[in-house]
Amino acid sequence: MSVLSAGDAADGAAGRPRARATRRSHLSQTHREWLAAYLFLLPDVLGLLIFVGLPMVLALSLGFFDVSGFGTYTFAGLGNYRKMLADPLFLDSLQVTAKYVLVLVPGLYVSGLGLALLVKRPVRLIGLFRAMLFLPNVISLVVIGLLWKFLFVDRIGMVNVLLSKIGLGGLSWLGDPDLSLWALLGVTIWFLMGFYMLIFLAGLQEIPREYYDAARIDGAGPLRSFRDITLPLLKPTSFFVLLVSLVAAVAGPQGFDLVYVMTSGGPANSTNLMTYYIYQQAFLFSNFGYAAAMASFLVFVLLGLTGILFAVTRGGRFDFD
């Protein structure tokens, strides 16, 4: 119902300038285009401004205040930012996050591409295999966290039982600070890889078969045709995957949700990702101002990183032809 009325309104709105243009010829083609563009953008931009932009500005500007969490605010200038630099937990958390991102982004790239190559050939039941590989994506992160927490438990957990068969038993995947981040990364990749597989699969299927046929005639092996044909032609897809997985690794919900359910940032702060630490400071310690300062910092780092990717890809246009 709301869709219909919204559609009508937009139709009317976009139709109006045209009608007016025919009447008043001084509204040039260029201006009509401008007006149309603004009207097309209106619903989403307005919504984003109100429901994301405004809260974002409010939330981030809290970084300059001491906020009690109970309605009192005192201006603190750069106090929260100074505190940040002197907070060993923040610096730790930054390190954990950097490690997480540096493993996750390539990890998703490799696993996504690997799986896509694996499921590219249309063998029997391929649809079923693809569906199975995507399946973790369908389940809520809270349940995913609970499941893996059990599978990773000391001694009797499924992971340990299986690994002990190859002589690697007795490890505490979520209880040993040297392993916990890896366990978290493993679960995260397992959860997200199906999505990137689909993206890569679509990219792979766009590459004309003739290229490979020609390469084979030239005597190129599978490795060489992967290097000389697949990789270069996947460039647009690759940039897209890198950009999306970078944003997801730093600000995506999976980082927070899985840590929240599986480790609470432990053991010994070894999985204390920035998103979790920010949440902890805000909601468990009522330090909303400090949390906001850290969040702003994170946004600026991400802006920088994605800015670089945008520059490299000419404003997000991934087609290079």
Partner: protein, 286 residues
Amino acid sequence: MTSTDIGGAQFGMRAAGEGRSGGTLLIAALILISSLTVFPLIWMVSSAFKTGTEVYTLRIVPEVPTLDNFRYVFTQLPFARYMFNSFFVSATVTVVALFFHSMAAYALARLHFPGRELIFRLIFSTLLVSLPVILVPLFVLVRSMGMLNTYAGLIIPAIFNAFGIFLLRQFYLGIPQELEEAAILDGAGYWRVYANIILPLSRPILAALAVFFFLANWNSFLWPLTITSDPDLWVVQTGIASFQQQYASAQNYIMAASVVVAMPTMLLFFIFQRQLVESIKTSGFK
């Protein structure tokens, strides 16, 4: 519906055409990796049929399979009501969001106007902040609009998400210019170009995005929990959380509820997976 069916058929034809040169090694690897991937979820399903103590054992097939957990889930809490709420909210968000996003993306990709790059950058930058960071101000805002404990509060803030705009813009950048130019020369307005040319072309990618949007909203937890206290408005994820009691985590109920909750989304994916891949491909969403 029709277009995705055709997509599926094309896909099937090509699949047949490419022959079955896949070696046994490939098949073996496929079976191994996909079963490993699914294995934890099998445990989830089996747990749903276990008793409260057996749920913490490694047995995959329950010793005494029981339906009690499912009975509990549906009798102790109005779970059907939660499922309706989740469905209603997710479907509405998906439909409205796709419509708004495609309009915005069309303007950003195909029209020329001052501030285009700036607006795009600003929209993109909203992706960099996660929900917990803006939770409090958003809550204040939604409350001051009188939308606490309403469907509107569940739906409206969830509609606006830059990710969809970003993906659709990518797609629209790849559509050949000539189609629209011809239409514009014919005197068609921008709305008609959008409605008659762009929108039909975007059907496949809209289908793919619909699946992702629906999934994301179906599984969302934090926002619904924060703004609803009225149990009539609870969604499935809030319901699952409430099976966790102060002194007993009751994993068997949680897993049974999770299986029930995952059913529609699994089904959705199984039915649409072919179309999904096809639409990602044809849409050039990459």
